[in-house]
């Protein structure tokens, strides 16, 4: 499996992802964008989600969000899919199916890990789950959230095909100003 090494690197420590992996991923995304930028077919894959991510993904096609206007389409056949939208913490009993689905897709192909489970949030790696999609599949784009709202999903998909720049790297998640901690903060 081509992305295997990248996947391992991800597994090893999220922080220390091999930089050439990033370069590869970026090049791949540009290639996909140039080829499918305006008509990209998506296959979803549930590796153990709680069914809410699925609901949000279904809503992507609903009138309020209508991802077709952006040139994205759902396809049930991985043979026709360019992008694999993966939810869930990658259950070990499911890895065969996950690999089969990924290998059934023609290249160039993207993998988007969706939701906190898929990003290693909810379930720690143990005998039941790998804990993150990156353990099994070479993920190109990560979409946080529990569940990621349809808007977040849209943004992630657009990032995946390089039609939006990702902005998370620019965020610091620190708020300015400071307030005095109330006294009742001591106990509890």
């Amino acid at each position: 499996m081509s992305g295997g090494s990248r996947a391992r690197a991800v597994a090893a420590s999220p922080a220390a992802r091999a930089p050439e992996g990033d370069v590869l991923a970026a090049r791949l995304r540009q290639r996909v964008a140039s080829q499918f930028g305006r008509s990209l077919h998506i296959r979803t894959l549930d590796t153990g989600s709680c069914a809410v991510c699925e609901q949000e993904i279904r809503l992507l096609a609903a009138p309020h969000y209508d991802l077709h206007r952006l040139g994205f389409f759902f396809t049930p056949a991985p043979r026709h899919a360019d992008l694999l939208l993966v939810t869930g913490p990658m259950i070990r009993a499911f890895d065969v199916a996950a690999r089969k689905t990924y290998e059934a897709m023609p290249g160039p192909k993207l993998v988007v890990a969706t939701g906190a489970c898929a990003l290693g949030g909810v379930y720690p790696a143990d005998a039941f789950v790998y804990g993150a999609v990156g353990e099994i599949l070479p993920v190109d784009v990560w979409i946080p959230g529990c569940p990621p709202s349809p808007l977040a999903l849209l943004q992630g998909l657009l990032v995946a095909v390089d039609r939006l720049a990702e902005k998370v790297s620019g965020l610091t998640f620190t708020a300015g100003g400071d307030a005095e901690p109330p006294a009742r903060e001591a106990e509890r």
Binding site: C50, A93, F128
Partner: protein, 511 residues
């Protein structure tokens, strides 16, 4: 919801004497009766005969395996739990008396290695095929792995198996169907759900209630409030905590909002399965608006993180509720009316996927599925607790048991939920949680999820850590009615319709 009233005289008492139970323990959300293994079979006979509903069956593993049967005494407004200590590796085959128990028997065998006597073949439920002896279990490993005896194509027979899944349509959960067909009609249908088994009951051990709720919400995300409520209620009744009434009203609002958006989603799925895209669009507009109401009222589209052990973490934004709800429900109502006036849609629903009353009782189905088959079971009414004492819902019941009946039940329930939300909001809901007292204990909790009665049984140790948590979302029950429904004179293309009308989750079954 904690049951508050004492053990009544009359039927229950006579039942207990019939069972011959020496000591009766009230509290912990239910009447708990120890039954020695020798008398278990007769006890089950009596209870099943007296019309008690076997709501759940699970085991706990102390120094010896203890079998717990949860009975819904729907006429008694009570739950009854029988405790039976299993000394050897076998117990009387309960599913012969109460067929609803079969899947749980399989599960108990997988998890604890004790099996019903008589050596009937047991299916694999949760454990993946590759699960070895070192695979984590709640108890001991079974003597030999459960035989996978799902509908093999017998050469003498003339049916073949049509494999479907686990990777199915777009945007649906992973699930494997074995569809045994004679080429035309569906002869049999079975499911593999171990693709999604996340070992939640195993994970919950050792957690404190707060973290436990975080996971419980994600057992079945589409009924997060109900499952969380059931677990919270179990904890509360185990420790004897009394949530503030305002918090219970808030829970009620959240639960009914959950029911509302789920029924909208089911409607959208029904339209999709019948290929009515315009109807699907209309239903999805309603769904999205209801989800935004959720977000506005409780800060989360799917109502995660509302319920807390002892109360609620967030209070409802009543202003947002008043603003948003009528519009959202109006969309739902208008879409529903248009659908009911669309013949091409109604024709697909009528007489499709019939579940007879007898099947519904036999398999212990719950929720809209049971109510559409004429079984008026609803824990909000049968085992009422705050906040439903003051605000009893009217139960919608249909008799035909087909997809149309389930659809109509859902619509009626949606209307009823809106009314309830109004009442509950008027009764002054609020936030806040009662502190959980120390000391261990065990308790039963329940809530009526959009799919039906969600049960939870939790036992905690002295410093408030969970030693055993049993989650039983409604999906666990209702998937069992699904194959019967799919089998009743249907063809392939009906199956998505039936699945949509059941509106279950695999996550809840596999948990």
């Amino acid at each position: 919801m904690t049951a508050l009233q004492p053990v009544p005289a009359g039927t229950l008492a006579s039942l207990l004497t019939a069972i011959g139970s020496a000591s009766v323990r009230d509290g912990g959300g239910a009447v708990t009766v120890p039954v020695p293994a020798a008398r278990l079979e007769t006890a089950v006979h009596h209870l099943a005969g007296a019309g008690a509903r076997l709501a759940d069956l699970f085991a706990t593993d102390g120094d010896q395996v203890t079998l717990r049967l949860v009975w819904g005494l729907d006429t008694e407004r009570q739950y009854l739990i029988t405790e039976t200590a299993i000394d050897d590796l076998e117990y009387p085959p309960l599913s012969d008396i109460a067929p609803a128990a079969f899947a749980e028997e399989c599960e108990i065998y997988e998890q604890f290695g004790v099996r019903p006597a008589g050596g009937k073949p047991l299916n694999r439920v949760a454990l993946p095929p590759h699960a070895g002896p070192d695979f984590p279990r709640l108890g001991h490993q079974p003597a030999q792995p459960p035989a996978e005896v799902h509908a093999p194509h017998t050469v003498a027979g003339q049916a073949f198996e049509f494999p479907f899944g686990p990777v199915r349509q777009v945007g649906v959960e992973s699930l494997y169907y074995g569809l045994v067909t004679s080429g035309e009609e569906i002869v049999d249908l079975y499911l593999f759900t171990w693709h999604k088994h996340r070992g939640l009951e195993w994970r919950l051990r050792g957690h404190r209630p707060a973290e436990a709720l975080f996971l419980a919400e994600r057992a079945e995300g589409l009924s997060a409030t109900a499952v969380a409520w059931s677990v919270a209620a179990a904890v509360e009744s185990a420790l004897g905590a009394e949530p503030p009434p305002a918090a219970l009203l808030t829970r009620g609002i959240a639960l009914e909002l959950e029911r509302l958006y789920n029924h909208a989603a089911a409607m959208a799925a029904l339209c999709q399965s019948t290929g009515l895209s315009v109807g699907q669009a209309a239903a999805e507009i309603a769904l999205e608006r209801l989800l935004r109401v959720n977000a506005a009222v409780f800060g989360h589209r799917y109502l995660f993180g509302v319920v807390e052990a002892g109360g609620v973490r967030r209070g409802p934004d009543l202003a947002a509720l008043q603003v948003g709800l009528p519009g959202g429900y109006g969309e739902l109502r208008r879409a529903a009316d248009a659908l009911l006036a669309t013949n091409s849609f109604m024709d697909r629903l009528e007489a499709t996927g019939i579940v007879t009353t007898e099947q519904a009782r036999r398999l212990g189905l719950v929720g809209p599925v049971a109510r559409a088959s004429g079984v008026a079971v609803d824990s909000r009414v049968d085992q009422p607790a705050a906040p439903y004492f003051g605000h009893p819902p009217a139960i919608a019941v249909r008799g035909t048991g087909d997809v149309l009946a389930r659809f109509q039940v859902m619509l009626d329930e949606a209307a009823e939920s809106v009314r309830l939300i109004g009442d509950l909001a008027a009764a002054g809901p609020g936030t806040g949680a009662a502190p959980l007292p120390g000391g261990g204990g065990a308790g039963l909790g329940w809530a009526e999820s959009p799919r039906g009665e969600a049960l939870a049984w939790v036992s905690l140790d002295a410093d408030g850590r969970i030693t055993r948590a049993r989650l039983r979302p409604a999906s666990v029950r209702n998937w069992r009615g699904f194959d019967d429904a799919a089998r009743s004179q249907n063809v392939f293309t009906d199956i998505p319709i039936i699945e949509a009308s059941f509106w279950l989750t695999v996550a809840g079954t596999a948990r």
